[in-house]
C-alpha cells in the first residue's frame, strides 16, 4: 500500500438464503401498530394449571425482538381478565377451539391502516387434535410465536421453513426464516438515521436473556490477531 490503488470488491455474502420472500400481511395495506413498543397482556383464566401462559409468551416474544432491521420492541405485561381482541393485545387460553388448530391469532386495523387491537389464543380444548398440551414446551412456544406474528399483522408464508408457515410441521427449534425477518422489518422498519437508537440501541442491552453465543464473536475478532501472529513469525523466520 505504498501507492494509491483502485480496487473493486466482489462481495460474496455467506448468508445464503432461499429465494422465497413470500411473506404476507393479515390485512391489505396494513402498517402495523403505530407504536412499535407493544405489550402483550396475559389472561391465565381458562388455562390448565400446568400451562404457564406468561412464561410461554415471554419466551415467544424474544424471537421477534431479535431482528436488527426492525424497531419492534415486544414485552409481556401483567394479568388481565379480557378474553377478546383488544389493545394492548391479549393472550389467553381458549377451550372452544376445535379440530387440529393449535392456536389462533389476529389483529384489526383502523381507517389509516394502523393496527389497533389484537389477540392470540391457544387451544386448551382437551381431546381435540390441536390441544396444545399434547405438544412439548418448545412447540407450544413456537405456536405462541406464530400467533404473535398474526397479532403483529403478519400473514402466512408459503416457505416451509418459516415460523409463519401455516403448519408447525417438524419445527422443534425457535428461529426466524428470512421470510419472517423480511415481514417484521417491512411492517416495523428501523430507521437509525431519523432519531431511532443507533446500532440497535444501547438500551436494549438491559433486560436481555441472552440466547446467543458471545464467544463466537470473540473468536472471530481474534482471527486477525492470530493471522498477524502467524505472519509475524513467518517474517522472523525469513530474517
Amino acid at each position: 500500500m505504498n501507492y494509491y490503488s483502485f480496487i473493486a470488491f466482489a462481495i460474496l455474502n455467506l448468508s445464503f438464503s432461499p429465494l422465497g420472500n413470500t411473506f404476507t400481511l393479515t390485512l391489505p395495506q396494513t402498517k402495523g401498530y403505530a407504536n412499535p413498543e407493544i405489550t402483550i397482556m396475559i389472561n391465565q383464566a381458562s388455562c390448565p394449571a400446568e400451562l404457564d401462559l406468561s412464561k410461554i409468551v415471554k419466551d415467544a416474544v424474544e424471537v421477534w425482538n431479535r431482528v436488527p432491521w426492525s424497531k419492534l420492541k415486544l414485552t409481556v405485561g401483567g394479568k388481565t381478565t379480557t378474553a377478546t381482541s383488544s389493545f394492548p393485545p391479549v393472550a389467553y387460553c381458549d377451550p372452544t377451539i376445535t379440530g387440529s388448530t393449535l392456536g389462533l391469532g389476529g389483529s384489526a386495523g383502523n381507517s389509516e391502516n394502523y393496527l389497533v387491537r389484537g389477540s392470540l389464543r391457544l387451544n386448551t380444548n382437551a381431546g381435540t387434535a390441536g390441544y396444545v398440551l399434547d405438544q412439548n414446551y418448545d412447540q407450544i412456544v413456537l405456536v405462541a410465536a406464530h400467533e404473535i406474528g398474526h397479532v403483529l399483522g403478519i400473514g402466512h408464508s408459503n416457505d416451509d421453513f418459516a415460523l409463519m408457515n401455516y403448519t408447525i410441521g417438524e419445527k422443534t427449534t425457535m428461529n426466524l426464516s428470512q421470510d419472517d425477518i423480511d415481514a417484521v422489518s417491512y411492517l416495523y422498519a428501523r430507521d437509525e438515521l431519523s432519531g431511532q437508537e443507533m446500532m440497535g440501541g444501547c438500551a436494549g442491552i438491559r433486560n436481555i436473556k441472552s440466547t446467543q453465543h458471545p464467544w463466537m464473536t470473540l473468536l472471530f475478532l481474534l482471527v486477525p490477531f492470530l493471522l498477524w501472529v502467524l505472519a509475524h513469525r513467518q517474517a522472523k523466520q525469513q530474517i
Binding site: 494509491y4 432461499p18 436488527p68 402466512h156 401455516y166 425457535m174 431519523s194 436494549g204
Partner: protein
C-alpha cells in the same frame, strides 16, 4: 451474539446460516493511502440482482455506503486490517396481490415500499500481493444491542492500479 442461531432454512427450524443480509449485494470501493501504512477505503454497496419471489409480488434490495480505515500490521507488511462504519438501507418493495394458503385462508402481499436504514460497523483483514488484495470483512448490524446484533461475512477481491 447472533451468529449461527438466527436464520433458519431447515424444516426443524434449526439455524443453518449466517447473518440477515440476503439480496447478494456487490460493492465497489477505492483505497486511498494516508501516509505509508494507513489507508482510507470508501465503499458503495448495491444489489445488482434484487431478491424477489417467483411471482414477483415482493422485491428486496439493499443500498449502502461505508468507509474503512485500515493499516498494515507492520510497516511494509502484506497483511492489513481495518475498521469500518457505514449506512445500509434495505428496501422492500411490495407489489400487492393475494395468497391463499393450503387451509384456504387468504392473506395479502404488501403493496407499498418500506425502507429500513441501519448503521453498520465492521472489522476486516486483508492480504496484499503484487497485483491483488484478498480480504474478509465481518459486518455487524445492531452492534450495541446483544439481542439484535447480527453478523454478515463478506469476501473481497481487489485489483490494484494507479489512479
Amino acid at each position: 451474539m447472533g451468529l449461527f442461531d438466527r436464520v433458519t432454512s431447515a424444516n426443524t427450524g434449526k439455524a443453518s446460516q449466517l447473518g440477515t443480509l440476503t439480496p447478494y449485494p456487490l460493492a465497489l470501493g477505492a483505497s486511498f493511502d494516508i501516509g505509508s501504512d494507513w489507508y482510507l477505503q470508501p465503499r458503495l454497496l448495491y444489489s445488482l440482482v434484487p431478491r424477489k419471489n417467483s411471482t414477483g409480488n415482493i422485491e428486496e434490495k439493499v443500498f449502502g455506503f461505508s468507509t474503512a480505515l485500515g493499516t498494515n500490521f507492520n510497516s511494509g507488511s502484506s497483511w492489513d486490517w481495518n475498521l469500518s462504519l457505514g449506512i445500509l438501507e434495505k428496501a422492500t418493495i411490495g407489489k400487492g396481490g393475494n395468497y391463499t394458503d393450503p387451509n384456504n385462508a387468504t392473506f395479502t402481499y404488501p403493496s407499498s415500499t418500506a425502507l429500513a436504514k441501519i448503521i453498520t460497523t465492521g472489522v476486516g483483514i486483508g492480504y496484499e500481493s503484487e497485483a491483488f488484495r484478498f480480504g474478509t470483512d465481518a459486518i455487524f448490524f445492531g452492534l450495541m444491542n446483544s439481542k439484535k446484533r447480527s453478523l454478515n461475512l463478506m469476501l473481497t477481491l481487489a485489483w490494484k492500479g494507479r489512479m
